[in-house]
């Protein structure tokens, strides 16, 4: 199946390792050029870039803090010099602290909101005008199901990401006339090598009808679908990839 990603430039944030790396690699396998964003994991970002280059596509490494609009604007300039205009964005980067609300010191929540909420605004404000000019584009934001169902220990990042979801719904109404799709992918617990003890894992899996944690391939599938022409009439939607843990709407 040709997804039509050949020669397209896709910005993947938080792509140095883990899910972001898996997403960037799968897009590259479909022929897409990758603007590979990272913030601190330089060594891993270089490794990922090497893997991607070997797939025969172009890759540009861009370092930056999505919480800073200046950084995001600088990222755009760097990408344009190396790869030209960005056609699509997969925002995988995030920042979350795992603790209950009253364990936060006042202000300690700011960073989560800055990355998970403002980061999306910064990306859209910076990159979308070019998409509007070229009358095409896709913006996919990745969140956790905690943002849809609540989670007492992910209270701030969940709120910030829920805000980003609402932002994308309104934005997709604004930019639909330019043939730009904005969608949200909401993930259940993905196996990224966390070391759960057997009892804990069993307890977690009880909540998952498909009786396993998610893996990188599960995320790659939905991202490739939402970047492809197969989803051209889908916008403003939220889709959970979560082994059936929650079923909303």
């Amino acid at each position: 199946m040709n997804l039509g990603l050949e020669g397209r430039t896709v910005l993947v944030t938080g792509a140095a390792k883990g899910i972001g790396r898996a997403i960037a690699t799968s897009i590259a396998e479909e022929g897409g050029n990758i603007a590979l964003h990272y913030q601190t994991s330089e060594k891993e970002a270089l490794e990922t870039a090497n893997v991607i280059e070997k797939l025969g596509v172009k890759v540009a490494l861009v370092k930056g803090d999505l919480a800073s609009i200046d950084d995001v604007q600088t990222m755009k300039k760097t990408i344009e010099k190396q790869l030209g205009t960005v056609h699509s964005i997969v925002n995988n980067a995030g920042y979350a602290q795992y603790k209950s609300f009253f364990k936060y010191e006042p202000g300690e929540w700011t960073r989560e909101v800055d990355v998970c909420f403002y980061g999306v605004l910064h990306l859209a404000h910076t990159f979308m005008p070019d998409m509007m000019n070229s009358n095409e584009g896709k913006l996919i934001n990745i969140i956790g199901d905690s943002a849809r169902t609540g989670d007492r220990n992910l209270i701030i990042s969940g709120a910030a990401r829920s805000g980003a979801t609402s932002f994308l719904k309104s934005l997709s109404q604004e930019v639909g006339r330019y043939n730009i799709q904005c969608n949200t992918v909401s993930l259940g617990l993905i196996d990224q090598g966390q070391e759960f003890d057997a009892a804990m894992l069993e307890k977690i899996l009880k909540q998952y009808p498909l009786k396993r944690l998610g893996n990188a391939g599960d995320v790659q599938g939905i991202i490739l679908f939402l970047l492809s022409a197969w989803s051209d009439w889908i916008t403003g939607q939220v889709i959970s990839v979560n082994g059936g843990q929650s079923m909303i709407g």
Partner: protein, 248 residues
Amino acid sequence: MSQRVAFVTGAGSGLGREISEVLASKSIKVIVADINMAGAEETVSIIRESGNEAIAVLCDVTDLENVKNAVDESVRQYGKIDILVNNAGWDKVEPFLKSEPSIWQKIININLIGQLNTSKQILPIMIENGYGKVVNIASDAARVGSSGEAVYSAAKGGVIAFTKTIAREMARHKINVNCVAPGPSNTPLFKEIGEQHEGLTVALEKAIPFRRLAQPSDIAGAVAYFVSDEAEYVTGQTLSVSGGLTMI
């Protein structure tokens, strides 16, 4: 791995035909199930012309016995069913207070009971094979309501709720069950409704952020994703394909 086999209801026209064509293009054998055999045969011809495999079976989804015969015939021909797309649907658009109970029954029988009937007959085959993908076509009418479609939206709401529970019951058998909820689509059903309601198409095009009705291919793309291996971890979900008309 042998070729996958899909059973698509209402496949003799419109959306069901498009879904069948798209699945066939992915080397899936398609059972074109419809009450309209002339339409079903036409779909089969189109698929065969592109070098892919399909057969037509007579299937009245409202009748469990008739569905059983269609399923038996399919298994005789292709040996198994891996994919079920519950697409058959029907509506008569009119204010609820003007509608007749006989019409309610017809709408519920086709749109909701039809999906129960095919699930009842086909899920055991999937369980036996240890593999299955079910995609139920719902409607955005179920998610946000739609004037003139009270009973239809209730039936489709039933489809969404049924999907969630079946997804839970079938998860242990590695069977995924999901819903695609089309918004207003350029299908024979919509054309029929549009003829009776002047200005409806124009009004909808104004309200849809992408400024057009869905084409059957838009919906088929989402079905193709749900039946693919890439969607293995997705179950019990509803995806609106609506050009942004609804966002839930």
